[in-house]
Symmetry: C2
Subunit: 363 residues, 2 copies
């Protein structure tokens, strides 16, 4: 069968070796002659998976002492609520940076789930094609929430807005493990697995332990992060397989050189594609250059008459998943960690081929 | 490799053909040359999986009009909270039948998450070895919550306590799809997948639509069942793989004859094992006979001196996962839908072999 170049925004491409191991474990895990899907989560074989996954997160992201790593359920959408309940006081106020559709949903949860929610800055005026800068976070807020990468709009926060005396909380669903981060800047990091970490079905939390339990709320059991810290993500049955495949992905990342390696590779991959977008007269990026995401590359055609040709060409080249989100239109190439530069080269070649067909030479 | 007889309480045994297909889809799903783990949940191939899984639940359980079927995250433990928030009024009261550790957790959530929670009857006085009967549910409660099968204690509610004018809510995590049920008896049924439905990571909800939105609460977005009904379980990224494997399991169940078939098989399987427990002088069941579970068979040795021998024998026979839960001790054989009667026969033969060794003839 011919190779598929999978630019899906998420759930998204995983490494081929990871998939091979993940497939084998479904019929015979650890030579137990049992599937990973049918063993107890309390068995020593799965406890070892969980322990290894947690240890790999800590090692790869250089997580300092005093932070817990959790693999939970519910997606970032549940993370929005966990943020409010674990860090926001009843009748307190919380600050949000509004950089896209997911930021808005995070804000909305704070707005409906009690207290005052403040948008300190927004790029909605330009359909979220940039990251606001130069704003002020009010003193005395319970926390400041950011979305580090905006999957739909193709923007990414390059300079993390750390403010003294303000708890910083980040939804990193679409760029965690793609670049170096300084975990100690954050009270909480959360991220759905289904971009750089693994398949859909688990959500990573990196939590500074001593900041929990400081609010005036009663928190339901499953939404209280302390519940899960106390039980090592095993308060109830965890999503065994998504955690297993995440562990395999982290092993792959570590074996290849960890964050330093992948950050360099991701920068090379993004530069290759953005260079073509900027050089090719038929394409135009939608995000402000300084805020461009290294994970989701959004672009449009400068001439809609060539759309049919382009769509036919990339389809024939085996490219899939590059139609843009309806909020932006055009195209979106999601180039997460597992995406090989060879696939990006195929896309770039297709873009060049389109220009050539119309006798337009890239500058 | 030798066959493993997997009596794990959950995550638990899945059908071998299901596992084979599930393994193949991890490397190549639907001949897309893509893994099921790396495609968009909005792709037509996955939307078809979700639609099929929902349709199979409706067909197999004969779900009437007016009910929605959802595949969510969070396990039954999140179901405890969803119950309170979607059906319980602020300062209202709710009734619980206390038949085991999971019932207690469900009750606890109602107790801490506002309103008054009432235990109408409990079998805790005898370590939950029976199902209370003859109790009265007070008029005017918001709902009445039951746990239909008690995984740890090996009891099962045989006569569902339907009461006129009282909303009935059931946690069916460990016996859904094992026997006929009358869905119209219930306002809500919920069940973690990891027993009879699929792997850990998704939770089934069967919801009577017109009973939602009747309370005086503001419900956070992700905990409001209406959120998920409105989006067909795709408000946010669903747990793709657990849902896919659940769909395969439901296809297997339907192809073999559905609920009528599996109920008959489950009764035969349970009868085979309970007969041996009752006939063999070295064994004793822990649950009251009339309340015995067809899913989880709990028993103890009548003479602890033979424990070492028995443990050696079943280990050598390839049996795994029959150590009892610490709350009951002894042994627990979980004999869910996918457990073949041949594996139960191996266990029964081992029990006979033990009696023979001590020259005790079964009566």
């Amino acid at each position: 069968m011919s190779k598929v170049h999978n630019f899906s925004a998420g759930p998204s491409i995983l490494n081929q070796e990871v998939l091979k191991k993940a497939s084998e474990a479904v019929v015979n895990f650890n030579n137990l002659n049992l599937s990973i899907l049918e063993i107890s989560h309390r068995s020593k074989d799965f406890v070892a998976v969980m322990d290894n996954a947690v240890a790999l997160v800590k090692e790869i992201l250089n997580v300092p002492e005093g932070y817990s790593v959790l693999f939970l359920q519910g997606g970032a959408s549940t993370g929005f609520l966990n943020t409010v309940l674990n860090y926001g006081n009843k009748n307190g106020s919380a600050a949000y940076l509004n950089t896209g559709a997911w930021s808005k949903k995070a804000f909305k949860e704070a707005d409906i789930s009690h207290g005052e929610a403040i948008i300190v800055a927004s790029s909605e005026d330009k359909n979220f094609n940039y990251i606001p800068k130069g704003y002020t976070v009010p003193d005395g807020v319970d926390y400041f929430h950011i979305t580090t990468n905006n999957t739909i709009f193709g923007t990414q926060i390059k300079d993390i807005p750390v403010q003294e005396n303000t708890l910083l909380i980040a939804d990193m669903s679409s760029d965690i493990f793609s670049r170096k981060i300084n975990v100690s800047d954050y009270a909480l990091i959360y991220a759905g697995a289904q971009k750089n970490l693994g398949p859909a079905g688990t959500t990573l939390y990196i939590v500074k332990d001593d900041l929990l339990g400081q609010t005036n709320r009663t928190i339901p059991t499953m939404l209280d992060l302390r519940t899960h810290i106390g039980k090592g993500s095993m308060f109830n049955t965890p999503p065994v397989y998504p955690i297993y495949v995440s562990m395999l992905t982290l092993e792959w990342l570590k074996a290849n050189g960890g964050i330093e390696w992948i950050e360099r590779v991701n920068q090379e991959k993004a530069a290759l594609l953005y260079s073509e977008i900027d050089a090719n007269p038929l394409f135009e990026g939608t995000a402000e250059k300084e805020d461009r995401s290294d994970m989701n590359v959004t672009f449009v055609l400068t001439n809609d008459d060539v759309k049919e040709d382009f769509d036919k060409m990339w389809n024939e080249a085996g490219i899939s998943g590059i139609n843009g989100h309806r909020d932006v239109g055009g195209y979106r190439a999601s180039i997460y960690n597992a995406m090989p530069i060879e696939s990006i080269q195929v896309l770039v070649d297709t873009m060049k081929q389109l220009a050539n067909k119309y006798d337009l030479v890239n500058e």
